[in-house]
Symmetry: C2
């Protein structure tokens, strides 16, 4: 059997009791930090669960995934992942491979950035459109996907959640905004930058992109929301209180 | 201080260690089942946390919210909520009220249906558009919001997550599809019905709406995804394996 256990957003304490039980009952336990990151490293996790835990690298999850599949055909294998498992497509591919070979799979869900941004910003969950990732330029070419997604979402008056590239190092809100501005003049659009979601002291700041770019968000991880062209008045009130939004954000309220 | 603790998706075991700690350190503990539901009732939760826990009704969260706010100005108050807190706007309103009175608030995130559907279906998180709720007819009028949302999402080729009404009783996928069909002839659109997400044996079925409507999903809670007009081939492969999708779903692959 192959069980994916979500570790949630911050450190080892964000795993659920159900997830803890799955780890206790496993024959083999792995963790992957490739698709996202946590404040807990493998040593801290091993201590918390009181078990040997091995790190899976990208190749273990992709080209050499047959090794884990083979193991899961004989043993109870648990793969720990930051956030909620399977939001990353790498996990779905692995689960697919296992199920096709007749190996039972299970998911123990964890807290995910996808829902956490709603709580921290006060933005309404049902008003988020498609999401996208802001990637570092590759061979000097910047992917247009994030700005295309924002514009598509604007067409249907939706907010856009933008994940920030993790490799080679976690991208800051400031770097992400710089990349967006190179793609399109969106200085006057409003956005919300979030840092260290899931910790005791997350930072949440809202402003026009042209101003937000000079804010200091502190250490990673960061994530970004580009607002829809209109806001519900409760969203505005929350952003003012929770994200120090300027008064001119009020123009968006419909 | 007012702390919102997410209980996750299924029962008492879905709370995180961080959430458990918050409950242990609280002076007063409440739970609300108005915005969603769990398999654990208040007795089970009280036993699990070994604490007295009181249920908050709708009026306690809305008209009479000042009572909780007043208490949180003097004591450490925890409100337990199914899923991830604050995805429901009722919670944001309460948090706003507290912060405005200078009361510190905190969120301990929990697993949410918003991300869990991705894992169970294999659908890509970044391809979901706006979400909506399918409500029971009110005074014989059916709200058009769900079908409007689906159509807007179709314009940008996005999937639609549809929450199902909980009051007076949890709506089934079948009832929800019947309502959608009354609003528009979408028999030939593909959808995925999910039941008991977060449990050890969730049910996930994909088919054309006209066929999905006669499937049996068993006991609540149910949730529904109406697919975009196109699918990534990995989404198709996953739906075939995880949701017993028919071969003609392949027509959607681009």
């Amino acid at each position: 059997m192959l069980t994916f256990v979500g570790l949630g957003l911050w450190d080892e304490k964000d795993v659920s009791f159900r997830g803890y039980e799955a780890v206790k009952n496993a024959d083999k336990v792995y963790v992957e930090f490739y698709t996202s990151m946590l404040m807990a490293n493998v040593e801290k996790l091993s201590e918390f669960f009181n078990r040997e835990i091995k790190i899976l690298e990208r190749k273990d999850l992709e080209e050499e995934s047959w090794k884990i599949i083979d193991e899961a055909s004989k043993l109870n294998v648990v793969i720990l992942t930051p956030g909620d498992p399977m939001v990353a497509t790498t996990h779905s591919a692995l689960r697919l491979e296992a199920e096709r070979k007749g190996i039972k799979t299970k998911i123990v869900h964890g807290a995910s950035i996808v829902s956490a941004v709603c709580g921290l910003t006060g933005l309404h969950n049902y008003r988020f459109g498609k999401s996208a990732t802001v990637s570092y330029p590759y061979k000097n070419v910047i992917s247009k996907t994030p700005i295309d997604t924002v514009e598509k979402n604007w067409e249907i008056d939706a907010h856009t959640l933008l994940y920030l590239d993790l490799h080679p190092k976690p991208m800051s809100v400031n770097e992400a905004l710089e990349i967006l501005l190179k793609l399109k003049n969106v200085e006057n659009a409003f956005a919300v930058g979030l840092a260290r979601v899931g910790s005791d002291n997350p930072v949440v700041k809202c402003n026009k992109i042209g101003k937000l770019i000079s804010e200091d968000f502190g250490p990673p991880l960061h994530v970004l929301v580009v607002l829809a062209k209109t806001l519900h008045f409760m969203e505005f009130e929350c952003l003012k209180e929770f994200a120090d939004a300027p008064d001119d954000l009020k123009e968006l309220v419909r």
